[in-house]
């Protein structure tokens, strides 16, 4: 299977030949940062297009189809429009916190995105505590949402932010607990190690019933983490206009919008890395020929395919279910999902010991 370390090592050697080690590192950091941010923006644009098409498909419409072939350039045109829009100053708002909030949301999202193992040999940073890092950094976004709601000087944003804060904090618990089940199974938190261990069999098959339960719980809780689908009360458009980002305009609104879509991608990517093997091809023990054939499919196709599958599930749920009430939402987390995931961890521990 092709490893992208060839390319990265080639770039590294090229840089080392022309400058000192310190400068090489510096240039590499900037390069990686730029690549991650460009990939972030492009993926978000593509996801917005996909969402519109899939949503249209579920609602028996056509969706964007005029700009470019199959409407592919529609989101690009929208991006140019959003960049040209005026940044409206809110009267009697705390301007510093108002500006800061949109950056907080997107920084939390990019930091999580940067640590994902995309393809074989392409992972910006491989922490020993990978899973824990992902959970820790993604919790920064909540602060941004709360600040956005407060500093906009509006009741709609305030209510949206409070709902969102309560929802994100609650659902973070079962997100973390369901990932913990996989950490118990693999015995490590390092993402590259977790992917490598799935070379024989993906964890969702290896972990028997507890892994499947953890996968379902993670999909539900992760979907709630992105403020979408039946869990979109923070921005319930019929009651709150647009929730916590009502007062934002132009690219500041764009930041919230990008972060929302990329959080969906990140949740799907984590789900596919932890449960479906990340970029690892489907291997069945004993089927040598089958495994060999599967190895010919490039690793980025596996990663994008699995992530795309999880994203499709999220879109499917979003456009199929009615919105929950706030008490139903909190009941679902605290009385259903969390007890199940706690019992599930116990089950997983028993499975591993046996």
């Amino acid at each position: 299977m092709y490893s992208f370390t060839d390319i990265t090592h080639w770039i590294d050697r090229l840089l080392r030949n022309s400058m000192t080690d310190g400068w090489t590192l510096f240039v590499e950091f900037i390069l990686i940062g730029a690549v991650i941010m460009v990939a972030y923006a492009l993926l978000a644009l593509f996801l917005i297009y996909v969402e519109r098409r899939v949503c249209a498909w579920f609602q028996c419409r056509i969706g964007p189809n005029r700009v470019g072939p199959w409407g592919l350039f529609q989101t690009g045109a929208d991006m140019i429009k959003i960049l040209l829009k005026e940044l409206i100053r809110i009267n009697r708002a705390d301007r510093f916190l108002f500006r800061l909030a949109s950056f907080m949301v997107i920084i939390g999202s990019i930091c999580t995105f940067g640590a994902l193992p995309f393809v074989k040999g392409l992972q910006a940073i491989d922490f020993n505590i990978g899973v824990f890092y992902l959970l820790a950094v993604s919790s920064l976004g909540v602060v941004g949402i709360l600040l956005a709601g407060w500093s906009s000087n509006s009741k709609y944003t305030m209510i949206g932010a409070m709902r969102s804060g309560a929802q994100l904090i609650s659902y973070e618990l079962s997100c973390g607990l369901s990932l913990l089940a996989i950490v118990i199974l693999s015995g490590t938190m390092q993402l590259s190690e977790i992917v490598a261990q799935q070379s024989e069999m993906w964890f969702i098959f290896k972990g028997h019933v507890p892994a499947v339960i953890a996968f379902v719980i993670y999909l539900i809780a992760g979907h709630a983490e992105t403020n979408r689908g039946p869990f979109d009360l923070p921005e319930a458009e019929s009651e709150l206009t647009a929730g916590y980002h009502t007062e934002y305009s132009g690219i500041q609104f764009g930041f919230f919008y990008l972060a929302e879509y990329m959080n969906m991608f990140i949740i799907a990517a984590i789900a596919s890395t932890m449960f479906l093997g990340g970029w690892m091809p489907l291997h069945i023990p004993g089927w040598e020929g089958f495994n060999r054939v599967m190895d010919y499919i490039p690793s980025f196709a596996w990663f994008l395919g699995k992530t795309g599958f999880c994203i499709f599930l999220a879109l499917w749920v979003r456009w199929s279910f009615p919105r929950l009430r706030i008490d139903q939402l909190l009941n679902l987390e605290w009385k259903v999902l969390m007890p199940i995931s706690l019992v599930n961890i116990l089950l997983m521990a028993i499975t591993v010991i046996l």
């Binding site: 510096f26 510093f96 916190l97 922490f127 020993n128 824990f132 820790a136 919790s139 602060v143 709360l146």
Partner: protein
């Protein structure tokens, strides 16, 4: 070289944000500057190759306690709340506490023998501590392992949770 520059940037951020957190008139801004202090401290831990502590710092302080602060501020204080200037006695007490803290920290820093002050360090401190080592230390019962304090702390947390529910339920 790069490490030193990063260290100075982070330290400057910590000092400036800490001063701003105390002097800021709006209480939510103060909380935000406190958040910057906590995030920059996590950056210092990362600089020391102590990834676990950095992630704990982020998830416990930035992601947990600070959100609790902001929630409490949002629920209690009216819009645009500005802090009242404190009276003389409180300012004097605060100064005394800050100064004694400074003295204690300075004494500890001066007295402590650092790993890198020794030109030939015997303990390897340069590489990352493995997550497994930390886990075994937290969950073991032998010498330098901390199962009992860990469990006692969890009982304390349980007591706090039950107490919170009891107070909130009293109506």
């Amino acid at each position: 070289m790069g490490t030193i520059i990063t260290f100075y940037c982070l330290s400057a951020l910590i000092i400036v944000s800490a001063v701003m957190a105390v002097t800021s008139k709006r209480i939510l801004r103060a909380a935000t500057f406190l958040l910057f202090v906590l995030i920059a401290t996590a950056g210092l831990y990362l600089l020391l190759n102590y990834h676990f502590l950095a992630a704990v710092q982020l998830s416990v302080y930035a992601g947990g306690i600070l959100i609790l602060f902001i929630f409490a501020i949002l629920l209690t204080s009216p819009k645009g709340d500005r802090t009242e200037p404190e009276d003389r006695g409180k300012v004097a007490m605060g100064l005394a506490a800050a100064l004694s803290g400074l003295v204690i920290t300075a004494m500890v820093t001066v007295k402590h023998i650092f790993l890198y002050a020794d030109p030939n360090p015997t303990v390897a401190g340069d590489h990352e501590i493995n997550m497994k080592t930390i886990g075994h230390a937290l969950m073991g019962t032998e010498k330098y392992q901390y199962l009992l304090p860990f469990e006692v702390l969890s009982v304390l947390l349980l007591v706090c949770i039950i107490g919170g529910i009891f107070i909130a339920r009293k109506r």
